[in-house]
Chain length 404, copies 2
């Protein structure tokens, strides 16, 4: 849509001017060779917005961030993997607060300017001695984004990061982001963790609304296993370093900024699905012709959530009845006679009847690394796309044999 | 609660006086050695009630049964496995109608007195030539219940059946039932298929209300994989053969009848979970102290649905944070500080804090074939119990390598 939004090759969150990052091996994870604590720092104050998990059990860092973001400003995120600091009671809140205080002291800021994010095992206390040493040891640099992306990984096998750029009236604006995913991914608000940075001079109200829209079209449209985590959080920091008029509702570049932010979020959300625990295939479900956009979203997401669909895709079995069954469960308005179903280019079902399709062609679609499912509900203009991955024996193994 | 409700050893659906059944190998299933079509027949007219799937995609037999049950009466169920007759359009409806007509003609009844139930692959047309021959070949007998229970099996490994008896004012009342489950089990209304029979003289209005209550406490409280099928159906036929005053609301034996019906449904629902696709463990989740019963039901069912919980149970990993995360996702009102969590007799979490529990004792609870999870929300009097099973590599294998 916006051809002038271009991806920066090898870009990451500190590709955005004015942002520094760094990460260290704190020893929070059992595997001491892995980075597990990092800091994202803006050299100037930022407008900030975030969306958080809808899980009623909220991790201590989530509770703290909600407080620290009340003024729509933040300048730093300190994040760790290996321990979620969730279900840890008053002690957990104290630990999250101390992480903010130590990071603020290190950088000469107020604790309220620091956001804290954690991911890992639920119910374990933070090993604060290691955390204190690690916060002290982090060295910030303009190419530290990649290390930070690695430090927030849990069962992820690759870091997820991107940066995009667009030009408006001669000025260059950059948005960069990182995310982690892998398991317990069925975001209701956000995904496990994603940090976005921009040098656009976005006002915090506009930034919050833009983030909500971008997240609804990206992180809120993926499902790996149907479980919503206690620590989900997407945060965006806008330091305004690019200069120019403040970006607010009605600004002529607002649409472009939203499109660029959405592009970053969609890329990261898809990257999470491509790297789902044990996954071998990426699944895209497009629902069109729905009675409303909400219906389209519901239907697309339920299809991609369905274990029956995920396992059939894994086995390259064009058992399309499972897709219709998931559609019927989604709560979206539908009439069988109006519904058309495609697997790649193969039309399998139309007008309430199965078609006499070429099974080997359908199997070929499913055998690919990227599987496209498309449904036309034939009722209205609502459309939405959801993403996910297959479920394999390896997913079960990862979630039963190891504690994550 | 009702000690005078006793289970009949080896009992099944035709342990109920006045009911006959039979089953044959129709050749609908690929494996021709397996029974796959059967008939349940009451020698006298019955009050009848049923609950059906809430999936918007409803199989042809479901649509037909809803019509045939409009008068609250039925006398026969003809059922097959191997083909769900779902998403099969007008042709599928015609086939379901013909199955009712042929069965009615065989038994000298009106087609409206016949209910049709199908389970198996979605989107395949019924092989009607085989079905016609099979309906003709079925031989009905008073010990045919076991064969019928086997004829409705798909990936089930054992038939699920039970009969119970209670005495009221010198008269003996019997309730028998069969069910099938295994996969695509997350009933919203009923489970895949269950047929219940009783000789109690239940009026159809009372029968429907009693069935709804019994199903809400049994089939609607289980989850194997979170997917609601297109063919779910529980039906009860009451032939009144036991005699006595008509059972209606306010009848002094109504409570006992409901308790016996619920006992039958709970047994069958649990049997479905014990035989879940690839399952190695049976899971029971009890939620108490909820703000409402609806909240307790929601919470219990979400815990038992969670893939993260199911896989941790499979791996005997007391990763209890996943249970709290599922609880937080359920939509039930909860306050972390009020919540207490038990695994068997081990208390793991109380007052908003993890307890210093004995991990080996918790592992021992999870290593058993039956795992008890108990949550006290500390908010009110709402309580409910849900059942399920673990998810294993074998579940993935069954659902990817074979078409079911």
């Amino acid at each position: 849509m916006h051809e002038d939004i271009c991806t920066i090759p090898g870009g990451h969150v500190t590709s955005v001017p004015g942002f520094l990052a760094g990460a260290v091996r704190a020893g929070i994870k059992e595997n001491v060779d892995k980075l597990d604590l990092g800091i994202l720092y803006s050299q100037r104050p930022c407008a900030a917005a975030a969306v958080f998990t809808s899980n009623r059990v909220k991790a201590a860092p989530i509770v703290l961030c909600q407080k620290h973001l009340a003024d729509g400003r933040a300048q730093v995120v300190v994040a760790n993997s290996g321990c979620a600091n969730a279900c840890t009671g008053e002690g957990g809140l104290r630990d999250a607060r101390e992480m903010a205080e130590l990071t603020a002291a290190k950088l000469g800021l107020r604790p309220e300017d620091v956001l804290v994010a954690s991911t890992g095992v639920i119910g374990c206390p933070m090993p604060m001695e290691r955390v204190r040493a690690a916060i002290r040891d982090v060295v910030l640099s303009a190419d530290g984004g990649d290390g930070l992306a690695r430090a927030i990984m849990t069962t992820d096998t690759v870091p997820k990061q991107i940066a995009v750029r667009f030009v408006w009236q001669g000025r260059q604006y950059t948005i960069g982001g990182i995310a982690k995913g892998a398991g317990m991914i069925h975001p209701q608000m956000a995904t496990m963790l994603s940090f976005l940075a921009t040098d656009a001079p976005a006002e915090s109200g506009f930034l919050g609304a833009a983030l909500r829209q971008a997240v609804d079209a990206s992180f809120n449209m993926i499902s790996i296993d149907g479980d919503t985590s206690t620590n989900d959080m997407v945060v965006v920091l806008a330091n305004g370093a690019a200069g120019g008029e403040p970006l607010a509702e009605g600004h002529p570049a607002a649409g472009r900024f939203l499109a660029a932010l959405t592009q970053v979020c969609v890329y990261l959300a898809q990257a999470i699905c491509r790297d789902g625990e044990g996954a071998t295939k990426f699944i895209q479900v497009r629902v069109e012709g729905a009675a409303s956009e909400a219906d389209a979203r519901r239907a697309a997401r339920e299809i991609v959530r369905s274990l029956a669909v995920k396992t059939a895709v894994y086995g390259s079995d064009p058992n399309w009845g499972r897709i219709l069954a998931a559609l019927g469960n989604s709560g979206a308005e539908m009439i069988e006679e109006n519904t058309t179903l495609y697997l790649g280019e193969c039309c399998l079902y139309r007008g309430g009847c199965p078609l006499d399709y070429d099974e080997s062609a359908a199997r070929a679609v499913l055998a690919g690394a990227e599987v496209d499912i498309r449904v036309d509900l034939g009722l209205g203009d609502g459309a939405a796309t959801a993403w996910g991955c297959d479920i394999t024996e390896e997913y079960v193994r990862l979630n039963s044999a190891y504690r994550t």
